[in-house]
């Protein structure tokens, strides 16, 4: 039923109050997804309000996109329609914090940075370093199943969630799991929500399993001459009993970006071409970053063994006592690249552990690749493409490059998703890739959670 904006506004205001709602282009523009703007923005302050808003949306057939900080809003397809931005910024409370049990129940609007800061008082943390970094909200991280280099050691969001409350598309609040670290009662519905990109329901509360912060940390940086050296180093480290906290392999351009030494993408309107005449990625310098954590004795062991590895491979290695900032920038590499270069295309390529260097070797033959960050501990490669070599045909040639790289990833047993590209090119570029033969089940699962199809319609894989 299409109702007048005024009628809807009155209904929504009755749920959240006038002051928790805004309309008009200025209020709505920041919530645009690929240029599609909502008609209204609402700021519910409780789980019940979220549920009531969704119930109203389902009755009135309003399309809703849940948002917090918008660090990943550009991922996925543009919504088929978009009436209501549901901002979760007022849902940022902590319930049931039990440091001795290593569990916490928290609302989705809390930002990761604030959350970590809160936990640090008790020497705890949530070992996640996803895209968006400190600004990413917990709800957004879950919706995207977003994980960075720490994943190789600690797993991803799906391995840290003990329970959830979810508001469904038709406005019911559903609980799954609980607040204990081991629980097999009933279907694990949280798994469906994690990585569902706001298409099934709105997570209104989550219980996380917490971890103890490492006593001390040290970062080691290997300067490598090629991908074979990177592969050998990665294999040796994974074979050793060391168990680093995280690892990252970056090319020279990415190294400049993450070390904050200015970026090749710093100019607006993507004048990348003019700065790239001396660009040569193949065979150039790669940096292999590794962070170790633990007691001083453990760190000393790392230093000894890594020095030996470096000597054996005749490569240079530095030590850094505090590299937190660089690790933050590695995690948030996509944002650093895209906020200054709207024309860049960023691809996320999860591969089998032992295939990432092989993929990179073949992918680098695609001349448009400008920078990459690879996570040797989890097999995920993030690639940046730009239009330098393609002249005026960049969107078309980009689309074919993306397709070629996807074929390559799939041949090696991986997949590929487009993490960022200009909105107007999305019709040319398949953002999510081919779904598997389980997509029909996924469609039915979607229909169970969101009976009227009002949640982020069309944003996800297979048009879900």
């Amino acid at each position: 039923m299409i109702a007048a904006v005024e009628t809807i506004q009155a209904e929504l205001a009755a749920i959240v109050g006038d002051s928790a709602m805004s309309a008009g282009p200025d209020a709505c523009r920041p919530f645009a997804v690929d240029g599609v703007e909502p008609r209204l923005v609402v700021y519910p302050s409780s789980a019940e309000q979220v549920a009531a808003l969704l119930r109203c949306a389902s009755e009135r057939d309003l399309a809703v996109v849940p948002v917090r900080n918008g660090t990943k809003l550009g991922v996925g397809n543009a919504p088929r329609r978009y009436d209501l931005a549901l901002s979760l910024k007022s849902l940022n409370r902590i319930w049931h914090y039990e440091p001795a049990d290593l569990t916490v129940v928290v609302e989705p609007g809390m930002k990761l940075g604030d959350f970590q800061h809160f936990l640090a008082r008790d020497g705890l943390w949530l070992p996640l370093d996803p895209r968006g970094g400190a600004r990413a909200s917990l709800g957004g991280i879950l919706a995207a199943n977003a994980a960075g280099p720490l994943r190789g050691r600690f797993g991803g969001p799906r391995d840290m969630v003990l329970g959830m409350k979810i508001a469904t598309g038709d406005g019911k609040i559903i609980k799954t799991g609980g607040r204990v670290v081991k629980n097999v009662a009933g279907y694990d519905m949280a798994k469906l929500l994690i990585g569902s990109w706001g298409t099934l329901g709105v997570i209104v509360e989550v219980c996380f399993k917490l971890f103890t912060r490492p006593a001390a940390r040290r970062t080691f940086v290997f300067h490598l001459g090629g991908l074979e050296a990177a592969r050998d180093l990665r294999r040796q480290i994974l074979k050793s009993p060391l168990g680093p906290l995280r690892m990252a392999l970056v090319d020279g351009n990415a190294a400049e970006i993450v070390e904050g030494a200015g970026t090749k993408f710093e100019t607006r309107n993507s004048k990348i071409e003019t700065r790239s005449s001396n660009f040569e990625l193949r065979g150039s310098n790669f940096e292999f970053w590794l962070e170790a954590g633990g007691s001083q004795n453990v760190l000393a062991r790392f230093a000894r063994e890594l020095e030996e590895l470096a000597r054996g491979a005749s490569v240079q290695m530095d030590k850094r006592d505090d590299a937190t900032l660089v690790w933050d920038r590695i995690a948030d590499f996509v944002t650093l690249v895209t906020e200054n270069s709207k024309e860049a295309i960023v691809l996320r390529v999860p591969l089998p552990l032992d295939s990432s260097e092989e993929f990179l070797r073949m992918a680098l033959d695609e001349t448009q690749i400008r920078a990459f960050v690879s996570q040797p501990g989890s097999g995920v490669v993030t690639l940046v493409l730009s239009g330098e070599a393609s002249g005026g045909n960049w969107p078309t040639s980009a689309a074919s490059s993306v397709a070629k790289l996807r074929d390559l990833a799939e041949k090696l047993g991986g997949t590929m998703a487009v993490e960022h590209c200009p909105a107007e090119w999305k019709p040319l570029i398949d953002v999510w890739g081919r779904p598997g033969n389980d997509v029909e089940i996924m469609r039915q699962v979607k229909a169970v959670w969101d009976t009227k199809g009002v949640l982020s319609p069309g944003r996800f894989v297979g048009g879900i």
């Binding site: 204990v180 469906l192 168990g243 598997g436 389980d438």
Partner: protein, 455 residues
Amino acid sequence: MLWRPEDRLLYEYDGLSSRRVPDAVAFPRSTEDVTEIVKLARREKVPVIARGAGTGLSGGAVVTEGGIVVSFARMKKILEIDIPNQRARVQPGVVNLDLSLAVSDVGFYFVPDPSSQKACTIGGNVAENSGGPHTLAYGVTTNHVLGLEVVLDDGRVIRTGGKVWDRPGYDLTGFIVGSEGTLGLVTEITVRLTPKPEAVKTLLAIYERVLDATRTVAAITAGGITPAALEMMDGITLRAIEAATHAGYPLDSAAVLLIEVEGLREAVEEEVEAVEGICRRHAAREVRRARSEEERELLWRGRKNAFGALGRISPNFYVQDGVIPRTRLPAMLEYIAAVGEKHGLLIGNIFHAGDGNLHPLLMFDARDSKQTAKVLVAASEIMARCADLGGSITGEHGVGIEKNELMPLIFSPDDLAMMRRLKEVFNPAGFFNPGKVLPTGKMCGELRIQVGGGA
């Protein structure tokens, strides 16, 4: 296929109990065989019950309404071992321990280690989302399964997930793991293999008071140490184990903690010192360290054979599986003791203490119907208390037919309705493992409890 009544009788039971003899037992050798069985069952409108080794403790493989039991005993091939990528692909009938043994030489293992691991299958582990003592630090089955091949109710074969972490789409793998055979028949599983730790140290801390042992558990967690395993056994259990296994457990103590720390040599040495200090500060009478692999194995053999050993002191026992926040262990143990006293029942305790996962063992004689009734009441009181403390009614054994009627203790009608609707997506006619997981509305007072095995 098995048709003769005396053959089918064997498939009436699992580790919990029995209900009915299946109408037939099928032993498929391939996914295609499974597909044909499913199509036939659908045409004839008979239930299909998946079965691994039948070691489950919640009746997941028990036949409730007749039908075909699909035994995966002949689908037990390890299809691929991929060490460079730390993955393996297996058929569901592969025995849990066999996979770890197959990759042991190259320094890897499969983490989930239920006590029944010498017999239980990986397919069964997937159905129940099994745990085990060593899942404290590394997670349960769901954290180690990345992909599945599943036969759905119409004979369709879908593949979910795979060797890599992320595939576009919903995490159906994570949803199917732990669904107890109610969504489809899993015919292939892709799992993570984990490198074996460099160093392992095992401690046995001995206490005069149960309370001191439970407080130690909370203090270890609060001290920022995550042991690979942290198990507790009380005096009743200890004495039964010692009589059967001669693991060297002290006969006169009130409780022991079996603590294992693993990882990098340097870290393990420091953590063992720290753990031992915490134990002594909480009035441990003695802390023993296993000095050799033989000593370590002996300590674990006692723990893993605990359920068998209890058969020596009681004709029957009912093993429960509740979970509470770890810090509530002291209060919970007092409550269990009070329940035992109230009903005049002997209750032993054996816990995955580090996880807050309790296995109270309620001892009784099944020939005495009054005692049997008391056991069921006592067990449900313990479950209700777990729920009140913010815990769960099952940590690793599953819901099955044992606890489906208890689900409302922790889930609302809306929660259960959502689970039911999701089940209908996969299993609309309800012919996969009927009567399990979700409440049927009938209380199962006739639960026939057997002497169990256990995790």
